[in-house]
Amino acid sequence: MDRIIQWATDPWGQNVPIHIAWFLIWVAAIGGLLFLMVHATYVRYFAKARQFVNDDPADIAPRLPKRIPRHSLGARLFHWIMAASMLTLLFTAFLPKVGIQFDWITYHWIAGAVLTASVIFHVFHASFVLDFWSIWPDKIDLQDAFRRTLRFVGRTAPRPRKFAKYPLENKLYHLAIVAAGLSVIGTGVFMLFRVRTILFPRNPYLFSDMTWGLIYVLHGLAGVGLIGLILVHIYMAVRPEKLAITKSMIVGSMSREFYLEEHDPHRWVVDTSSSPKL
């Protein structure tokens, strides 16, 4: 633990953490890149074609629109605002630590404030407007993950079902982003009390040195974790087989063919009542 946390002695003789050890930046970046290489190699040379339960959607297909709505305008705006603020936060936080020095802190706290506001919007939007539970793993996800694992190791198991709106990997990634994101936001809001901003009156003694140290450490750990998570996310977004999903985050919809190929119409029910049948 001492190797990943930087400690110091405060004026009262107390040994307190002050921040993470900065080599963790490289650990996260290299870890993320290694994941990309291993995943790309696996998909290119070893992965078998995916097989799902035979569930003929022939009766459903004619009633579907040509373009399946996936992300509302509000959801897309949130995503891209969050992405821009997150990238700004990562660059402003870590570039100075690896030797590229510039006046970073103003950009950093402004981006942090934007991220916080966008996440608050997202929580309410997802809770009251979107299908809240669609992004959380459910029983079928876990059953199918178990089936896929058994089949991967050569054991006999039924084929998994097609995905709901979001595959399990997507849901798990969202969970990781929620944990890391809420950690940096929660700690970052308090850290704003240590610098002069237009948001709060400065109060560096809001907490004890130990509590402040733990806040800085958690902020740092979640921050470097986000380096790896964002690397993986961008990589997945540009993979050929995922481009339809990425495009849907821009245009809001995906093709009917992709929907039927990847998703279970019974688990991700598309409202066809108001859509023109194209």
Binding site: Q6, A8, T9, D10, P11, G13, V16, I18, H19, P96, Q101, F102, D103, W104, I105, T106, R194, V195, R202, P204, Y205, D209, W212, G213, Y216
Partner: protein, 338 residues
């Protein structure tokens, strides 16, 4: 924290005989190495055991880093030239008297005999929380003990503070900025020359350093072009003890007056921020104006624009305003009448 004074921790002493050799040693050991010039700042750190370098590179045996030389366009001062040598140098006195004035006001005669120009511009901050070894921002921590309602911050920054409120304590730095000096560094990538004002950095760029020298870099010389030789100079330093102290504030200006108006001017102050500040807005405002009290008032007001006092350093705002006014209008205009 118990501070054991006067007993330095063990380190390996390297005494190179050339700048090339010194830079190679610094590059080889990176952040484990410590540059020892005159030792006036270094020995405090080492004896207090706050800094614990593994390698100390003593530059005192490198003759090429010493002395004042005439070059094609001005003079070149070796980084290891002592402040006393600088004050006594005829060329410096005659052409660049601003630097001689500034150097002569550094500390005490004994310190000027030992302290070097390179060390004076590269010395560390004097904030006592930092010098005492507390884990403040400048020491790599996450707090400023001085920027606090109860913090002892009488000597600290009123301008451009960013988390850390320590100030640059150099007297020669503003004079060199006013003289448009160039700093020559030997780095792992080769020679690098920067304008004097770009040698210094504030906490918004790097909160742990006052200048741009990275581990492996060596300041070798300071070049002063002849463009400001024999200009009208003004240097004033305000300190608590006139016999020996760091500046509360200082001001340095070089002015060329033609036809009763300011044709060209460079003005810089130190002690107000973590880096010596060139007052470009003041320069632009007073150009083509008469160097009198009225112009000085304008300059003084501009100089303190954006100043934010801490609990105990509010006096620095009128002090800076007056110093800048005097630098423009002269001492005879000292009384603030605006």
């Amino acid at each position: 924290m118990a501070v054991i004074r006067d007993v330095m921790p063990a380190f390996e002493l390297v005494q190179p005989s050339s700048a090339v050799e010194a830079q190679k040693v610094l590059e080889q050991h990176g952040s484990d190495a410590w540059v020892l010039a005159g030792g006036m700042d270094s020995f405090d750190w080492l004896k207090d055991r706050i800094k614990r370098p593994k390698i100390v590179v003593d530059l005192s045996g490198i003759d090429e880093l010493k002395g004042v030389r005439t070059i094609a366009d001005g003079i070149e001062i070796g980084a290891m030239t002592t402040l006393t040598e600088l004050v006594a140098n005829e060329t410096v006195k005659q052409k660049f008297g601003l630097l001689a004035q500034a150097a002569e006001l550094v500390a005490s005669p004994q310190i000027r005999n030992q302290g070097t120009i390179g060390g004076n511009v590269s010395q560390d901050a004097r904030c006592w929380y930092y010098r005492a070894g507390w884990p403040c921002y400048r020491a790599g921590g996450n707090i400023c003990y001085a920027d606090d309602p109860d913090g002892r911050n009488r000597e600290h920054a009123i301008l451009h503070a960013d988390r850390c409120v320590a100030v640059n304590p150099s007297d020669t730095a503003p004079a060199l900025i006013a003289l448009d000096a160039k700093f020559v560094m030997r780095t792992p990538k080769g020679e690098r020359i920067v304008d004097a004002e770009d040698y210094f950095i504030g906490p918004e760029i790097d909160i742990t350093r006052l200048h741009i020298l990275q581990p492996g870099d060596l300041l070798t010389a300071i070049r002063i072009p002849s463009s400001w030789a024999n200009a009208k100079f003004y240097f004033e330093k305000v300190r608590d003890r006139n016999v020996w102290d760091f500046p509360l504030l200082n001001v340095a200006s070089a002015m060329v007056v033609s036809g009763g108006t300011i044709e060209r001017i460079r003005i810089a102050v130190n002690g107000a921020a973590a880096r010596p500040l060139r007052l470009k807005a003041v320069e632009d405002a007073v150009r083509d104006k008469a160097p009198n009290a009225e112009t000085g008032v304008l300059a003084g007001k501009l100089a303190v624009r954006g100043a934010v006092p801490l609990q105990f350093n509010g006096y620095k705002i009128p002090l800076l305003r007056n110093l800048v006014k005097r630098a423009i209008g002269g001492v005879e205009e000292a009384v603030w009448t605006a």
